[in-house]
Structures are given as structure tokens and as C-alpha cells.
């Protein structure tokens, strides 16, 4: 059939741009939080409890009279921290196991695949809950828990990619000139799996953030007075009748950020993953 690759190349991608912009805006919010936020995130105004949005409190105040806007701004730091750290842990585990399994195959592969399957067979949220209940609540433990339940997907992808790559001529070449297995994995194979990994990470990040909010909802989130969006939201829900702003705005913040990352991921995949390039 006609070959369109020349024609397709460099197709510009809306969702990527949009996602990128949202992503940047969150970054900016996180970095310049102290400049943007009018108050500190834990500053209580006992006299101004549950005040609706006003010029004094842009998005109103919560049950302690803390400025919700400020908390949301600072919260972006938490969200990013959670997302990024979780993804880093996942990718590190995923890549190393995936590379080993894919490259060596045989017993190594069977063992690693087995472990992966085991984690695959556990209901993620349940496992996460169990882990957090075991480690005790708190952001760090939540992050660990989420990473523990969701690294498997990375392993699977990297493994598959590696398998398809390891017999490619350029890898053979590497072997021919006597490169060590490690350097072949890191210098020949890994770079070629990066596309997939980047896509997977950008998509894993928002789901990490969502999982955190879920944990927060079940009361296993960050420790007060940390302005974690999930915790803010779930605490606010009980005020939804009297003071909807407490939960609505953090909710929107979550949707905004997660949406941004999802768009970014979608875009990246369209660009990097030839299977879906149209």
C-alpha cells in the first residue's frame, strides 16, 4: 500500500499541547506557591470558619478557617510529589525487572513473570489499603502502597519491548563487538523502550494521584495539616450541604491536574507510539 510515513511525520497534536500547558501551570503553581498563596496552608482563622469565597478568601475557608485557595496552591506540591515519586518507583522496578526478564528469558523470565502475575492477580485498591493499614497512614506509605500495586504494568511492557528488541541487528552488533549484557541492556535496548516508558509514566502519574485521593477518601491519606487535595476533598464532602466550596474546589483541582496529565499522555502516545500514529 501507499507509504505515508513522510506525509505523517511531525503531525501536530492538540491534546499534547493542551495537556502540556496544564502541566506547566501546575508546575508553576507548585514552584511559586509561597508567592501565589495569600496565606500559609496551615494558618487557622478560628474567627472565619467555613466562610464562602470572598475577596479576603478567594475560594473560601475550611472547617478551621484556613484559606482554601492557599491550601490548593500548596496542595499542587503534594500532588506532583506523590505522582512523580510513585511513577519513579514504579519505573525503576518495572524497567529493571522488565529488562532482565525480556533479555535473559528462560528461568529468569519465568520467575519474574510469575511475580508480576501474582501482583496482577491482587485487586489493586485492596492491596494498597492492606499495605497502608500495615505501614500506618501517611503520604509516604500511601505512595509506597500505590507503587507496590502498580509497577507490574511497567514490567510487562518493558519485557515485551525488550523481547522484540533483543534480536534486532543493532543489538546483535553490540554483542558482536563484545559489549557486556548490562551495557547492551542499558545502552542499546533501554533507549529504544523509552518511548513506551514515557507514555506509560505520563499515564501512570494521574492514576497515582487518583489512587491517592481514593485512599484519602477512605481516611488513609496525608497527615494534617498537609494540604493533600484528596484529603481536603473527602473532609469537605461532609460539608457539601453547608460549605460546598471546601470539597468542590479541591475536586476541580484534582480533575484539572489529572486531566492535564492524561491529555499529555494521550498526546505523547499518539506522537511516540507508531502503532497509534495516524
Amino acid at each position: 500500500m501507499v507509504n505515508f510515513d513522510i506525509l505523517r511525520s511531525g503531525s501536530k497534536n492538540i491534546s499534547f499541547k493542551l495537556g502540556g500547558m496544564i502541566f506547566l501551570s501546575v508546575i508553576v503553581m507548585a514552584i511559586f506557591a509561597p508567592l501565589i498563596a495569600p496565606y500559609s496552608y496551615d494558618e487557622m482563622h478560628i474567627s472565619d470558619i467555613l466562610k464562602p469565597p470572598s475577596s479576603k478568601y478567594l475560594l473560601g475557608t475550611d472547617q478551621y478557617g484556613r484559606d482554601i485557595f492557599s491550601r490548593i496552591v500548596y496542595g499542587s506540591r503534594i500532588a506532583l510529589k506523590v505522582g512523580i515519586l510513585v511513577v519513579i518507583i514504579e519505573t525503576v522496578i518495572g524497567i529493571s525487572l522488565g529488562l532482565l526478564a525480556g533479555y535473559y528469558g528462560g528461568k529468569v523470565d519465568r520467575i519474574i513473570s510469575f511475580i508480576t502475575d501474582v501482583f496482577w492477580a491482587m485487586p489493586p485498591l485492596v492491596l494498597a489499603l492492606a499495605v497502608v493499614t500495615l505501614l500506618g497512614p501517611g503520604l509516604t506509605n500511601v505512595m509506597i502502597a500505590i507503587a507496590v500495586v502498580s509497577w507490574a504494568q511497567f514490567t510487562r511492557v518493558v519485557r515485551a519491548k525488550t523481547q522484540s528488541l533483543k534480536n534486532m541487528p543493532f543489538v546483535e552488533a553490540g554483542r558482536a563487538i563484545g559489549e557486556s549484557d548490562i551495557s547492551i541492556m542499558l545502552r542499546y535496548i533501554l533507549p529504544n523502550t523509552m518511548g513506551a516508558i514515557i507514555v506509560l509514566s505520563t499515564l501512570a502519574l494521574p492514576s497515582a494521584i487518583l489512587s491517592t485521593t481514593a485512599m484519602g477518601f477512605l481516611g488513609l491519606g496525608a497527615q494534617p495539616p498537609t494540604p493533600d487535595w484528596g484529603v481536603m476533598l473527602s473532609e469537605g464532602i461532609s460539608y457539601i450541604g453547608t460549605a460546598p466550596w471546601i470539597s468542590i474546589f479541591p475536586g476541580l483541582a484534582i480533575v484539572y491536574t489529572v486531566l492535564g496529565f492524561n491529555l499529555l499522555g494521550e498526546g505523547l502516545r499518539d506522537i511516540l507510539d507508531p502503532r497509534l500514529k495516524v
Partner: protein, 323 residues
């Protein structure tokens, strides 16, 4: 002679984010009944696009932007989707380059052929019988068994035979064969070529042969059009082209011939490469690669002129410029 298909000034553009690509840029040719007409050129020169344009199957982001395609004096470019459905398979059918990807992996090959046959409201059982006999016609051994195989269970040659069987099943008056042999190895190629020429005689169909392989052309074609960068640069009957190639490009293609068949027809011998069609070279599009170029070549675009009866060429060497 009365033309079965005549393409007039056909233009197809691809609208990519990188820019507009004039994949087919105003080409015209005719195909008579029972004639085998070959469209030759390197990949990316627009010959396949021409074929798809005739089927009205140009894929996104391609668009037919001008010209006429008269088939039996009916302009296909004005036909409705419904009418095209009637024409496809029944009047014009198309054999594709890669027989593996061109058959649906999840259906038995017999089924896929029968699917076409039943369109002429022939009862299923009859249709199956017809499939078997078609398979016999295209020389598929123990056809009854094969009809139940899945594509991946067949060799490349067999699959291409199935494709051919499928495309002749409704006795179309024109078959477009897009690189029918490229994906096959040499021995099989010969068989398929033989099969095609026989079919032309038995079924009295015309064939539009799309290929980059002058070997195939030499064996099959009556008339030939050489395409370069979306334009026809030379057109004539098989003797005129082979005995007396006028356009330097044609010459090079023919010179490359003996080596082609060995090297599965890659044209390294021709220096330079297919030009970028988003902003094609000024003047004659071939001049950057042309050994005999004059300065007009880079400024003026030569037009297609008839230098001897039925032998056309677009080149300044033959005063093509005056037009």
C-alpha cells in the same frame, strides 16, 4: 480503438500537517479492452495512489482534487458511494501488493472469496462451489481443502492466488494489480505473471499493472506509462519504450533492469532519490538527478508531447518545452 478506462488530468493531494503533497499531479492515460497497461515508477511516485483513486479508495488525508476518470464513459468521480459499491469488484477490482495483510486473518480464505460472490445474489452453496472452481482456475492445489484454510496457513504465492481468485470472482472488466509480485520470491513471481496473462486471455479483462519492476512489465504489458514524482514522463507501447526509451529516467530504469531482478528491484543505480513532493523541484522534476540536464530544465516544466505515433514524452531534449 475504444477506451475502457480513460483518466484525464487526474490530481490527488494529501493534506498533511507538514503541507500539501501533490501525490498525483495531472496525469492522463487510457486503457483499451483486453489491454494490459503498466504504470511504472519508483515507490512514492504516485502510481499506487492513481490506482486507489480509480477505485475511489484514496485513504485519509488524501483527496482527489481534479480531473476525470471515465470508465465505460461514466465519470467515476461523480459516482455516488452506492454506485461505486456496485462498480467495485463487479466492474473494477484490485489486487494488492502484500497478500498476507490483504486477507482478513480471522476468516477462512474460501469464505472471504464467497463473500464477494454472494453479492451477485448467488446462493451460498453455489457460491462455495464457485470458490472451489475459481481456486482451480488460479491453480491452487487441492482447492477443496485449501478453501478451509486461514490466510496464515497459506504460502505467499497461494495467498496471492487467493487474492487473484477473489478479484476475478465477479468477472470484472478491469483488474488493477498493484505490485502483484513484489512481495513474492522470484520463482513464484513468474507463476503469478503467467497466471495474470492467461486470465487476460480467458476472461478478456483489461489489467492496469502497477509496478516498479521492468522485468514484469516486459513480460506482461501492452502499453507502458512511466511515472516520476506524480507525473507521467513517458508513455508508449512496449516496443517503443524498450527499443527506444526517450526520457533519461526511462533509460536508466531499463539499464537497471538486469540487476533489478536479482536485487528484487531496488533502484540504487539511479543517483539521488525521489524528490520531496511538498515543494517539488522547479522546472523538470527529474533535473536534479538528470545526467543530461540543460539550464531550461531547472526553470521550465516540460509538457507531454507525442514524438512518434502513440509515443509520448515530457522532456526538453525533445523540445518538450514549447507548449
Amino acid at each position: 480503438m475504444k477506451a475502457l478506462l480513460s483518466v484525464k488530468d487526474l490530481r490527488v493531494n494529501f493534506y498533511t500537517s507538514a503541507g500539501i503533497v501533490k501525490a498525483v499531479d495531472g496525469i492522463s492515460f487510457e486503457i483499451a479492452k483486453k489491454e494490459i497497461f503498466a504504470l511504472v515508477g519508483e515507490s512514492g511516485c504516485g502510481k499506487s495512489t492513481t490506482a486507489l483513486a480509480i477505485m475511489r479508495l484514496v485513504p485519509y488525508p488524501g483527496k482527489i482534487v481534479g480531473g476525470k476518470i471515465l470508465f465505460k464513459n461514466k465519470n467515476l468521480l461523480e459516482a455516488t458511494g452506492e454506485e461505486m459499491t456496485q462498480i467495485r469488484g463487479k466492474e473494477i477490482s484490485m489486487i494488492f501488493q502484500n497478500p498476507l495483510t490483504s486477507l482478513n486473518p480471522v476468516y477462512r480464505v474460501g469464505h472471504q472469496v464467497a463473500e464477494a460472490i454472494v453479492l451477485d445474489n448467488i446462493p451460498k452453496r453455489k457460491a462455495w462451489k464457485k470458490v472451489i472452481e475459481l481456486f482451480k482456475n488460479v491453480k491452487i492445489p487441492d482447492a477443496e481443502e485449501r478453501a478451509y484454510s486461514y490466510p496464515h496457513e497459506l504460502s505467499g504465492g497461494m495467498r496471492q492466488r487467493v487474492m487473484i481468485g477473489m478479484m476475478i470472482s465477479r468477472e470484472p472488466s478491469l483488474i488493477i494489480a498493484d505490485e502483484p509480485t513484489t512481495a513474492l520470491d522470484v520463482t513464484i513471481q513468474a507463476q503469478i505473471i503467467k497466471l495474470l496473462s492467461e486470465l487476460r486471455d480467458t476472461l478478456e479483462t483489461s489489467i492496469l499493472l502497477i509496478t516498479h519492476d521492468f522485468g514484469v512489465v516486459a513480460e506482461l504489458a501492452d502499453r507502458i506509462a512511466v511515472m516520476y514524482a506524480g507525473k507521467i514522463v513517458e508513455m508508449g507501447n512496449v516496443y517503443q519504450i524498450f527499443e527506444n526509451p526517450l526520457h533519461p529516467y526511462t533509460g536508466m530504469l531499463i539499464d537497471a533492469l538486469p540487476r533489478i531482478t536479482k536485487k528484487e528491484g531496488r533502484l540504487e543505480e539511479i543517483p539521488g532519490s525521489v524528490p520531496n513532493l511538498i515543494n517539488p523541484p522547479s522546472g523538470c522534476r527529474f533535473h536534479p538527478r538528470c545526467p543530461l540536464k540543460k539550464e531550461v530544465c531547472s526553470t521550465e516544466e516540460p509538457s507531454l508531447v507525442e514524438v512518434e505515433r502513440g509515443h509520448f514524452v515530457a522532456c526538453h531534449l525533445y523540445g518538450g518545452g514549447k507548449a
